[in-house]
């Protein structure tokens, strides 16, 4: 008897099933919660590119924008915690999970939420401190994602305990590396699809209405820096539910394998149904 290996493909299949079939409403809520953050990040990035070498003369203006990004970050963190909890409930609850109300899904434990906010904020600070190395970026993306994925699991919060809780679930390494690679490749693919979709829409609208739509052609072309930044933000926004769901699935399956829960479920499925004697 041998266990099936935990593979990146199997984790992705379950994550896609969660997002598209089992929890589309909650995935929409996550996108709504992340929308202000992505929009404001794109706005800040665009302003920085416009200011260029004069950016250091406008630090107070940029800090004002950064405050708004931070406020929207809190909303996005909440959305991620709710999404991770919904995914965990869907993976563990089975039929009973379908009867859980929206209000129940939105109810987060204060300890879990604060612990997650702390771990995710540490990842955010490290992102700015180490982001210039580029190598640290995927590692920090995994750390931030795992903080959300493990937020629904019970633990004792603390300055080091919350970070230790996240790091303890950073396994299996191969699956996490595989997921990171897939999503790193996914961002440019979604970006291309998204920008092409807008250009096709402009072309179709021009064909149907008979108007040239020259302004839209310029606005939605790759020469427009603002459009490129917004399309990047849109690509990340679209991929975020899949990324977080994949991490929740990986964490959940790794825990089940460690505790033997997966074998218990397998045996229960293999056991023939009990025939009731008349």
């Amino acid at each position: 008897m041998s266990r099936r290996e935990l593979t990146t493909g199997a984790v992705l299949d379950t994550a896609v099933d969660l997002v598209s079939r089992r929890l589309p409403g909650m995935a929409g809520l996550l996108m709504l919660a992340s929308l202000p953050l992505r929009f404001l990040e794109a706005w800040l990035a665009n302003r920085l590119l416009q200011l260029g070498d004069k950016a250091s003369e406008h630090v107070s203006y940029l800090t004002g924008l950064s405050v708004w990004v931070t406020l929207s970050l809190l909303l996005a963190f909440w959305g991620r915690a709710v999404w991770a909890r919904s995914c965990t409930l869907a993976l563990t609850g089975g039929e009973a999970e379908r009867r859980i109300s929206w209000r129940e899904r939105l109810r987060l434990s204060p300890a879990g939420l604060v612990s997650y906010l702390y771990a995710a904020t540490v990842a955010e600070v490290l992102f700015f401190a180490l982001g210039w190395t580029l190598v640290a970026l995927p590692v920090l993306a995994v750390l931030g994602g795992l903080a959300a994925a493990t937020s629904a699991l019970d633990h004792r919060p603390g300055l080091f305990a919350s970070l230790g809780h996240v790091l303890r679930h950073a396994r299996p390494f191969g699956v996490l590396a595989g997921l990171t690679l897939v999503f790193l490749m996914g961002v440019p693919v979604v970006f291309l699809n998204l920008s092409m979709l807008f250009q096709i829409l402009v072309w179709a609208a021009g064909g149907m209405t008979g108007t040239a739509g020259a302004w839209w052609e310029v606005a939605l072309s790759w020469e427009n820096q603002q459009f490129v930044v917004l399309a990047c933000a849109g690509a990340i926004l679209l991929l975020e539910p899949f990324w977080l769901a994949a991490l929740v699935v990986a964490v959940r399956q790794a825990r089940a394998r460690q505790s033997g829960e997966d074998l218990a479920a397998w045996f229960a499925a293999l056991r023939p149904p009990v025939q009731e004697e008349a």
């Binding site: 200011l51 906010l117 600070v125 700015f128």
Partner: protein, 95 residues
Amino acid sequence: MRLPLRPTVPHRCFNHPDRPALAICVDCRKPLCQGCSTLWEGIHCCVDCLAKRRATAGERSGGLRLVFLTVATLALLAVATILRSWIGAALAEVL
């Protein structure tokens, strides 16, 4: 005539009537034998009251920990806000 060692303590344990009582729980005032009494922070407690005290102490320390973690998170968010604008400005100049 021999005087009892602790005249205020009833003679029998509340949980074990066959055993002599050696202490009284400071919370519920039940007489307790040696096996039922636990000396915690210098006072005698029964099992139920000890569990209540521990739960209360745990909630208090858990609440304090959450407040501390929230303050730490807010401080880190402030740092992230400043770093975002400073490092962003520096990167914009380099690029």
